[in-house]
C-alpha cells in the first residue's frame, strides 16, 4: 500500500517535471508553440530552441535537483531543518573562488569554473566545519551560526572585489545567479555530477537516513560514522560547487524545497529524498521561466527571484504551521 502510494507520487512528480521542462523550453521573451519541434517556422527558431533553450532548461533542472538534494543532505547530517549550503557559506566559497580565479587571470572556461567552484566550496565547508567543532565534537548550532557569519563575510568580499575592480557586470551571473549562458558542455558535466550525487544517495539512502539520528545512536546501530560523514560532505560540496559553477549563487532551493515537501509529506530521508530532488528540479524550472519571461527584454536575477518566491512560500508555511500546531 505504502509502496504503491510512493510510486504514484514519484510518477506524478516525474510528469510535473516533464511538463516544467516543456514549458520552460517553449517559454521566454518569445513563446514558441510545441509544433516548433517537428514543424519549425524558421531556422532561427530551431536554433534558439536547440542551442539556447534546451541546454538552459537542462542546466536549470539539474541544478535544482542538485541544490535540493545537497540541502536535504546537509539538513540530515546537521539535524537542523534550516541548514543549507547556501546559508552556511559553501556556495559563497564557490562564488569567491570563481571571482578570485577570474581576477588571477584564469580563463573561466567550463572546466576551470567547475574545479574552481568545487575547491572554493570544499575550503569554505571545511572552515565552517572547523568553526562548528567544540570540545565535545560537532555542534549543529555552531554550524549554522558560524556558517551564516562566514557566508556573509565571503559574500561581502566577493561584492567588494567585484565593485573595486569594476567587474560587476562581468560577474553578473556569478553574483546574481541565472542560466542565461548555459551550454551543452556544462550540461554534460552537470549530468555527470548528478549521476554521482543521486547514485550515491540511492546507494547510501539507508545510511543517510540513520545519520538523521544523533551521532552516538548512529554508531550504536553499526554505522561507520566518519566514513559516511565524509561521503555526505563530499556529495554536498559536489552538488553545491557545480551548481554555483553553472548557475551562480542561488539560495532558498536547498532549504525551501525540502521544507515544502516535508510539510506536505512528512517522512525520513529515505522516503523523501527523491520527491525532494524532483521538486527541486521543478522549482528551478519555474523560477527560470519567470526570470526570463516575466519582464520582456530584461532577465531577472535568479537568486533574488528564488529568494523572493521562497521567502513568501516559507513565510506562509511558518504561519500556517503555527496555526496547525495551536
Amino acid at each position: 500500500m505504502i509502496f504503491h502510494k510512493k510510486r504514484v507520487l514519484t510518477g506524478c512528480l516525474l510528469l510535473a517535471l516533464g511538463f516544467a521542462v516543456l514549458l520552460d523550453t517553449l517559454g521566454g521573451p518569445k513563446w514558441y508553440g510545441i509544433s516548433e519541434f517537428w514543424r519549425p517556422t524558421s531556422k532561427l527558431a530551431t536554433q534558439i530552441l536547440w542551442d539556447v533553450r534546451i541546454p538552459r532548461v537542462l542546466a536549470a533542472m539539474l541544478v535544482g535537483i542538485l541544490l535540493a538534494t545537497g540541502g536535504l543532505l546537509l539538513q540530515t547530517i546537521s539535524h537542523n531543518p534550516l541548514a543549507d549550503p547556501s546559508i552556511i557559506g559553501v556556495n559563497a566559497g564557490a562564488n569567491l573562488a570563481l571571482i578570485a580565479g577570474e581576477l588571477a587571470g584564469l580563463a573561466l572556461t567550463v572546466l576551470n569554473a567547475f574545479w574552481l567552484a568545487l575547491i572554493g566550496a570544499l575550503l569554505a565547508f571545511l572552515v565552517v566545519i572547523g568553526l562548528s567543532l567544540n570540545k565535545k565534537g560537532f555542534s549543529p548550532l555552531r554550524l549554522l551560526l558560524g556558517g551564516t557569519i562566514f557566508s556573509g563575510f565571503l559574500s561581502s568580499i566577493s561584492m567588494a572585489v567585484s565593485f573595486m575592480t569594476n567587474n560587476t557586470q562581468q560577474f553578473r551571473v556569478i553574483l546574481a545567479g541565472g542560466f542565461s549562458g548555459a551550454n551543452y558542455e556544462q550540461v554534460g558535466l552537470l549530468v555527470l555530477v548528478a549521476i554521482v550525487v543521486v547514485g550515491s544517495v540511492f546507494f547510501f539512502r539507508t545510511e543517510f537516513t540513520l545519520l538523521g539520528l544523533d551521532h552516538q545512536t548512529t554508531v550504536g546501530l553499526g554505522l561507520s560514522f566518519k566514513k559516511l560523514m565524509g561521503i555526505a560532505i563530499a556529495l554536498i560540496v559536489l552538488a553545491a560547487g557545480s551548481s554555483v559553477a553553472v548557475g551562480g549563487n542561488i539560495g532558498f532551493v536547498g532549504v525551501g524545497v525540502p521544507q515544502m515537501v516535508n510539510f506536505v509529506h512528512p517522512g525520513s530521508f529515505k522516503a523523501n529524498v527523491f520527491p525532494i530532488a524532483l521538486c527541486g528540479g521543478i522549482f528551478m524550472l519555474f523560477a527560470d521561466l519567470i526570470s526570463k519571461a516575466a519582464v520582456s527584454s530584461v532577465e531577472l536575477p535568479l537568486s533574488a527571484l528564488s529568494a523572493i518566491v521562497g521567502g513568501i512560500v516559507l513565510f506562509i508555511l511558518v504561519a500556517f504551521k503555527k496555526k496547525v500546531v495551536k
Partner: protein
C-alpha cells in the same frame, strides 16, 4: 559466571582530561549491572568506552575475550545495542520505521527488510507493548512512549548486550517503573546482559543484580546492591546520610539528608 564485557587497566577521558583512571571492570553475563555514582564521577565516560564509542587513552576493553577495537562498527552493533542518554528523534518517521533501523547491523546489500527482519521488528515492538502504535508518528507520542520505541529499536538489533545511559531521566514515575520492569522482563526472558546508568539509587538497588559505584574515576565498590548501598558509601561517595532498610534483601534508602560539605 562469565564476563561478557571487561575492561583492564582502563584509562579514559576527553582530550588531556583523564576521567577514568587505571580501572579494572568486568560485567557479568546475563545480569543487570547498574553504573552508579555522583555527577562527574565518570559513569558516562565509562559507558562510552565500554560500548566502543570512545577509545580508551590506555588499557583495553574486551568483548567476549576479544579487544573491542578489533570489531567493526557493524560487528559491534550485533553484540552490543546501545541507547545514549539523549537521542534526536527525526521528524516524519513512524515507530515501525524507527525500530527497523535496529536491523541495519543485520542486513546486507540494499537493506530491504526480509521476513526475518520484519519478524524481529514486530517482536521488538510487541516486547515494549507498542503494537497498537506501530504506525504512528514518533513525534506524536509521549516521552515515555518514545523511550519505549527507542528501546524496541535496540531490541531489534538482536544483540546479547543492551546498554542504556539513564533511560529514565526525563520520565515520570509511572514511565520510569515501566521501563525498568521492561528491562527486568527482557533480562529474565531472553537472558540479555544489561548495563544501565542510573541516578536513582533505590531504583538501582531494586532492579540491578550488580552495581558498580564510581567516584572521581575510580571504582569505589562493586558487587550486589546489598554490599554496595551501605551507609559508608552513601556518606563517602554521595555525601548524604540516610537510613538503609532491607526489603527482602534489597537495600532501600530512607530519610536522606545531605552532609555538610567540607569547605
Amino acid at each position: 559466571m562469565t564476563d561478557s564485557l571487561a575492561a583492564k587497566d582502563l584509562t579514559a577521558g576527553y582530550g588531556h582530561k583523564v576521567v577514568i583512571d587505571h580501572q579494572d571492570i568486568s560485567i557479568a553475563q546475563g545480569q543487570i549491572t547498574g553504573l552508579i555514582g555522583p555527577n562527574g564521577s565518570g559513569k558516562s565516560t565509562l559507558f562510552n568506552v565500554l560500548n566502543g564509542f570512545e577509545s580508551p587513552i590506555s588499557g583495553t576493553v574486551t568483548l567476549s575475550g576479544k579487544p573491542i577495537s578489533r570489531f567493526s562498527a557493524r560487528q559491534r552493533a550485533q553484540q552490543i545495542a546501545c541507547l545514549p542518554q539523549r537521542t534526536v528523534i527525526p521528524d516524519g518517521i513512524t515507530v515501525f520505521e524507527l525500530v527497523s533501523y535496529g536491523r541495519y547491523c543485520r542486513q546486507r546489500g540494499f537493506h530491504h527488510l526480509s521476513q526475518t527482519d520484519r519478524k524481529a521488528i514486530n517482536d521488538a515492538i510487541q516486547a515494549v507493548h507498542m503494537t497498537s502504535k506501530a504506525d504512528e508518528l514518533l513525534t506524536s507520542l509521549s516521552g515515555g512512549q518514545q523511550q519505549r520505541a527507542l528501546i524496541a529499536m535496540t531490541l531489534a538489533q538482536d544483540s546479547r548486550i543492551l546498554m542504556l545511559d539513564e533511560p529514565t531521566t526525563y520520565l515520570d514515575l509511572t514511565n520510569q517503573l515501566e521501563i525498568l520492569n521492561l528491562l527486568q522482563e527482557l533480562n529474565a526472558k531472553f537472558r540479555k546482559t544489561i548495563i544501565i546508568v542510573l541516578h536513582d539509587l533505590n531504583e538501582a538497588a531494586r532492579y540491578c543484580h550488580r552495581l558498580v559505584c564510581l567516584v572521581d574515576g575510580h571504582v569505589k565498590a562493586t558487587g550486589r546492591p546489598i554490599d554496595v548501598i551501605t551507609k559508608a558509601i552513601l556518606a563517602d561517595v554521595f555525601k548524604v546520610d540516610g537510613d538503609i532498610l532491607h526489603d527482602h534483601g534489597c537495600p532501600q534508602i530512607m530519610n536522606c539528608h545531605t552532609l555538610a560539605m567540607p569547605s
